[in-house]
Amino acid sequence: MTEEFRTVIGLEIHVQLNTRAKMFCGCDNNAEGKEPNTVVCPVCMGMPGTLPVASREAIEKTIKLGLALGCEIPKISKFDRKHYFYPDLPKGYQISQYDQPFCKGGQIELESGTVKLNRVHLEEDAGKLVHPKGSKYSIVDLNRAGTPLLEIVSEPDITSPAMAKDYMKELHLILRNLRISDADMEKGQMRCDANISVQLKGERRKGKVASSPIVEIKNLNSFRFVEKALAHEEKKLQEEFEKWPEKKTKLTHGFDSNRGTTYPMREKEEAKDYRYFPEPDVPPFDLTRFPIEKWKKELPKLPSHHRARLSELGLTKEEANIIAKDDTIKDVIENVAEKNKAIIGKLLINNVEARKLSIEALNQIADTIRDGSPSNWVRDMIRRSVKSGKLPLEIVKETKGLAPSSEEISEKTKEFTKFLISENPDVVQKHKAGKAGALEFLIGQGMKMTKGTVNPKELREELVKQLEEEKR
């Protein structure tokens, strides 16, 4: 059945910016662990007569994201009031952006395709509501009210729940890369609303593509839930396709993460019901007077850049992905010597301790590693360098501990193999009798005796060779 349908998904992602103070007032933007309503002031509590003043830092962070995503930064931008009545919104309206956002268009490139963006706009977060079971009250905490909040709206270019997850993960990486948000989903710093519909491929009804209603699933707060909720809804929309009325409608659903299913929610208000109008208290912005070209130059490299560079350097896709996610490793990779990047990339992935070393130390280790240097020599050098704070070259000098060359290693392995065979005559006998596992046992013994200083692959080759020679 799935072949008949095309899935259309668009995501609206909300991201809290990591500014020190709130969007329109000087309250602390980090209320973690604070008592309810103790990180508030008359402005973010929506008291009458207060005057909001926009945070320059929040605007800068918004525009930087726009630049990173290839958005158009318009000449003029402004804030608008979006009205709705709910206890989490003390003013009765949210200061948001309607028709002149800070960033227009843009795109995110994924392996599974390009997702165009509609816009990125800046607004203020609402307060938090808790509804204790059995109580006749809801609890309002306005500590979160006024936190600068980005809304990143994609075009409906996403064609599967898995692609929606990829999109979110990539955006998460970009946000972390730009250091504009911690984007910790468990703390609600990044939240997703997803819109999904399914369309019949090819078939048109009255000149229009036959489509299911659009279902909006609210408050998806993990990558996994986004994929799970969308997969559930996709299946349901396909199964019930014939039942939907022809008129295109919109439904709002919530996601029950315990059951992995979605359920209908209170109908949302339509755009016109929000009664948007320009925020008279916050004057408009002439963005040509902001140092946008300078910000553009200051942008850090994006994950896609790191991935491309790292695969050029011979790292696998998985390895490149690990590095692209890690800020520390990424910084190092950008700054180590060109010829050492691939070696150091692998080192940093495999050895947590190596991440404590300076770029100079890493370069020196990479320089002294020769073909076939045993991994435990490298490990030992890293450990010594971290412990003593000395550079690897100093340690090499002191201990004459230069990594052995491949010839030296082969010679050692040869000698050791001879020794290993002479020490284990019974196992050698078993091997000669064709007993499976005898060779593996010998290799295991050898690794144990040398504490891993021989290369197992070389040891195996040498064992096979010498045992063959013995037969003759």
């Binding site: 007032c25 309503n37 003043v53 926009a54 320059r56 109580s135 809801s138 008279p280 007077r289």
Partner: protein, 101 residues
């Protein structure tokens, strides 16, 4: 002339509970307000710019610092919560807005 449904819809957006009698009463009242505004439609406003700002200011921003905007916005929690009708220590309580599942 506004319809009864329009008034019901606006009341719903404002979370107002109106009785049938009130809706009867308010429909013509609200309607006459709209009619007054409709007079503006008769004017030719093609070349008139909309006014949403009167100060002429632009690019008003503040630095990212944790501090009160001015003396008037420096208040204690106690002061800020003074007029909250129902509270529990520093939590604000409101009539429950969703039904228990």
């Amino acid at each position: 002339m506004l319809k009864k449904e329009d008034v019901e819809h606006v009341a719903k957006l404002s979370r107002l509970e109106l009785s049938d009698a009130e809706i009867e009463k308010f429909t013509p009242q609200l309607s006459s307000v709209f009619e007054m505004f409709e007079k503006l439609d008769a004017e030719d406003l093609k070349n008139v710019e909309e006014t949403s700002q009167v100060t002429g200011l632009e690019n008003v921003t503040r630095e990212d610092e944790i501090k009160c905007l001015d003396d008037l916005t420096c208040c204690t929690t106690e002061e800020l919560l003074k007029n909250i009708p129902i509270k529990e220590s520093s939590s604000i309580l409101v009539p429950k807005v969703i039904e228990d599942k």
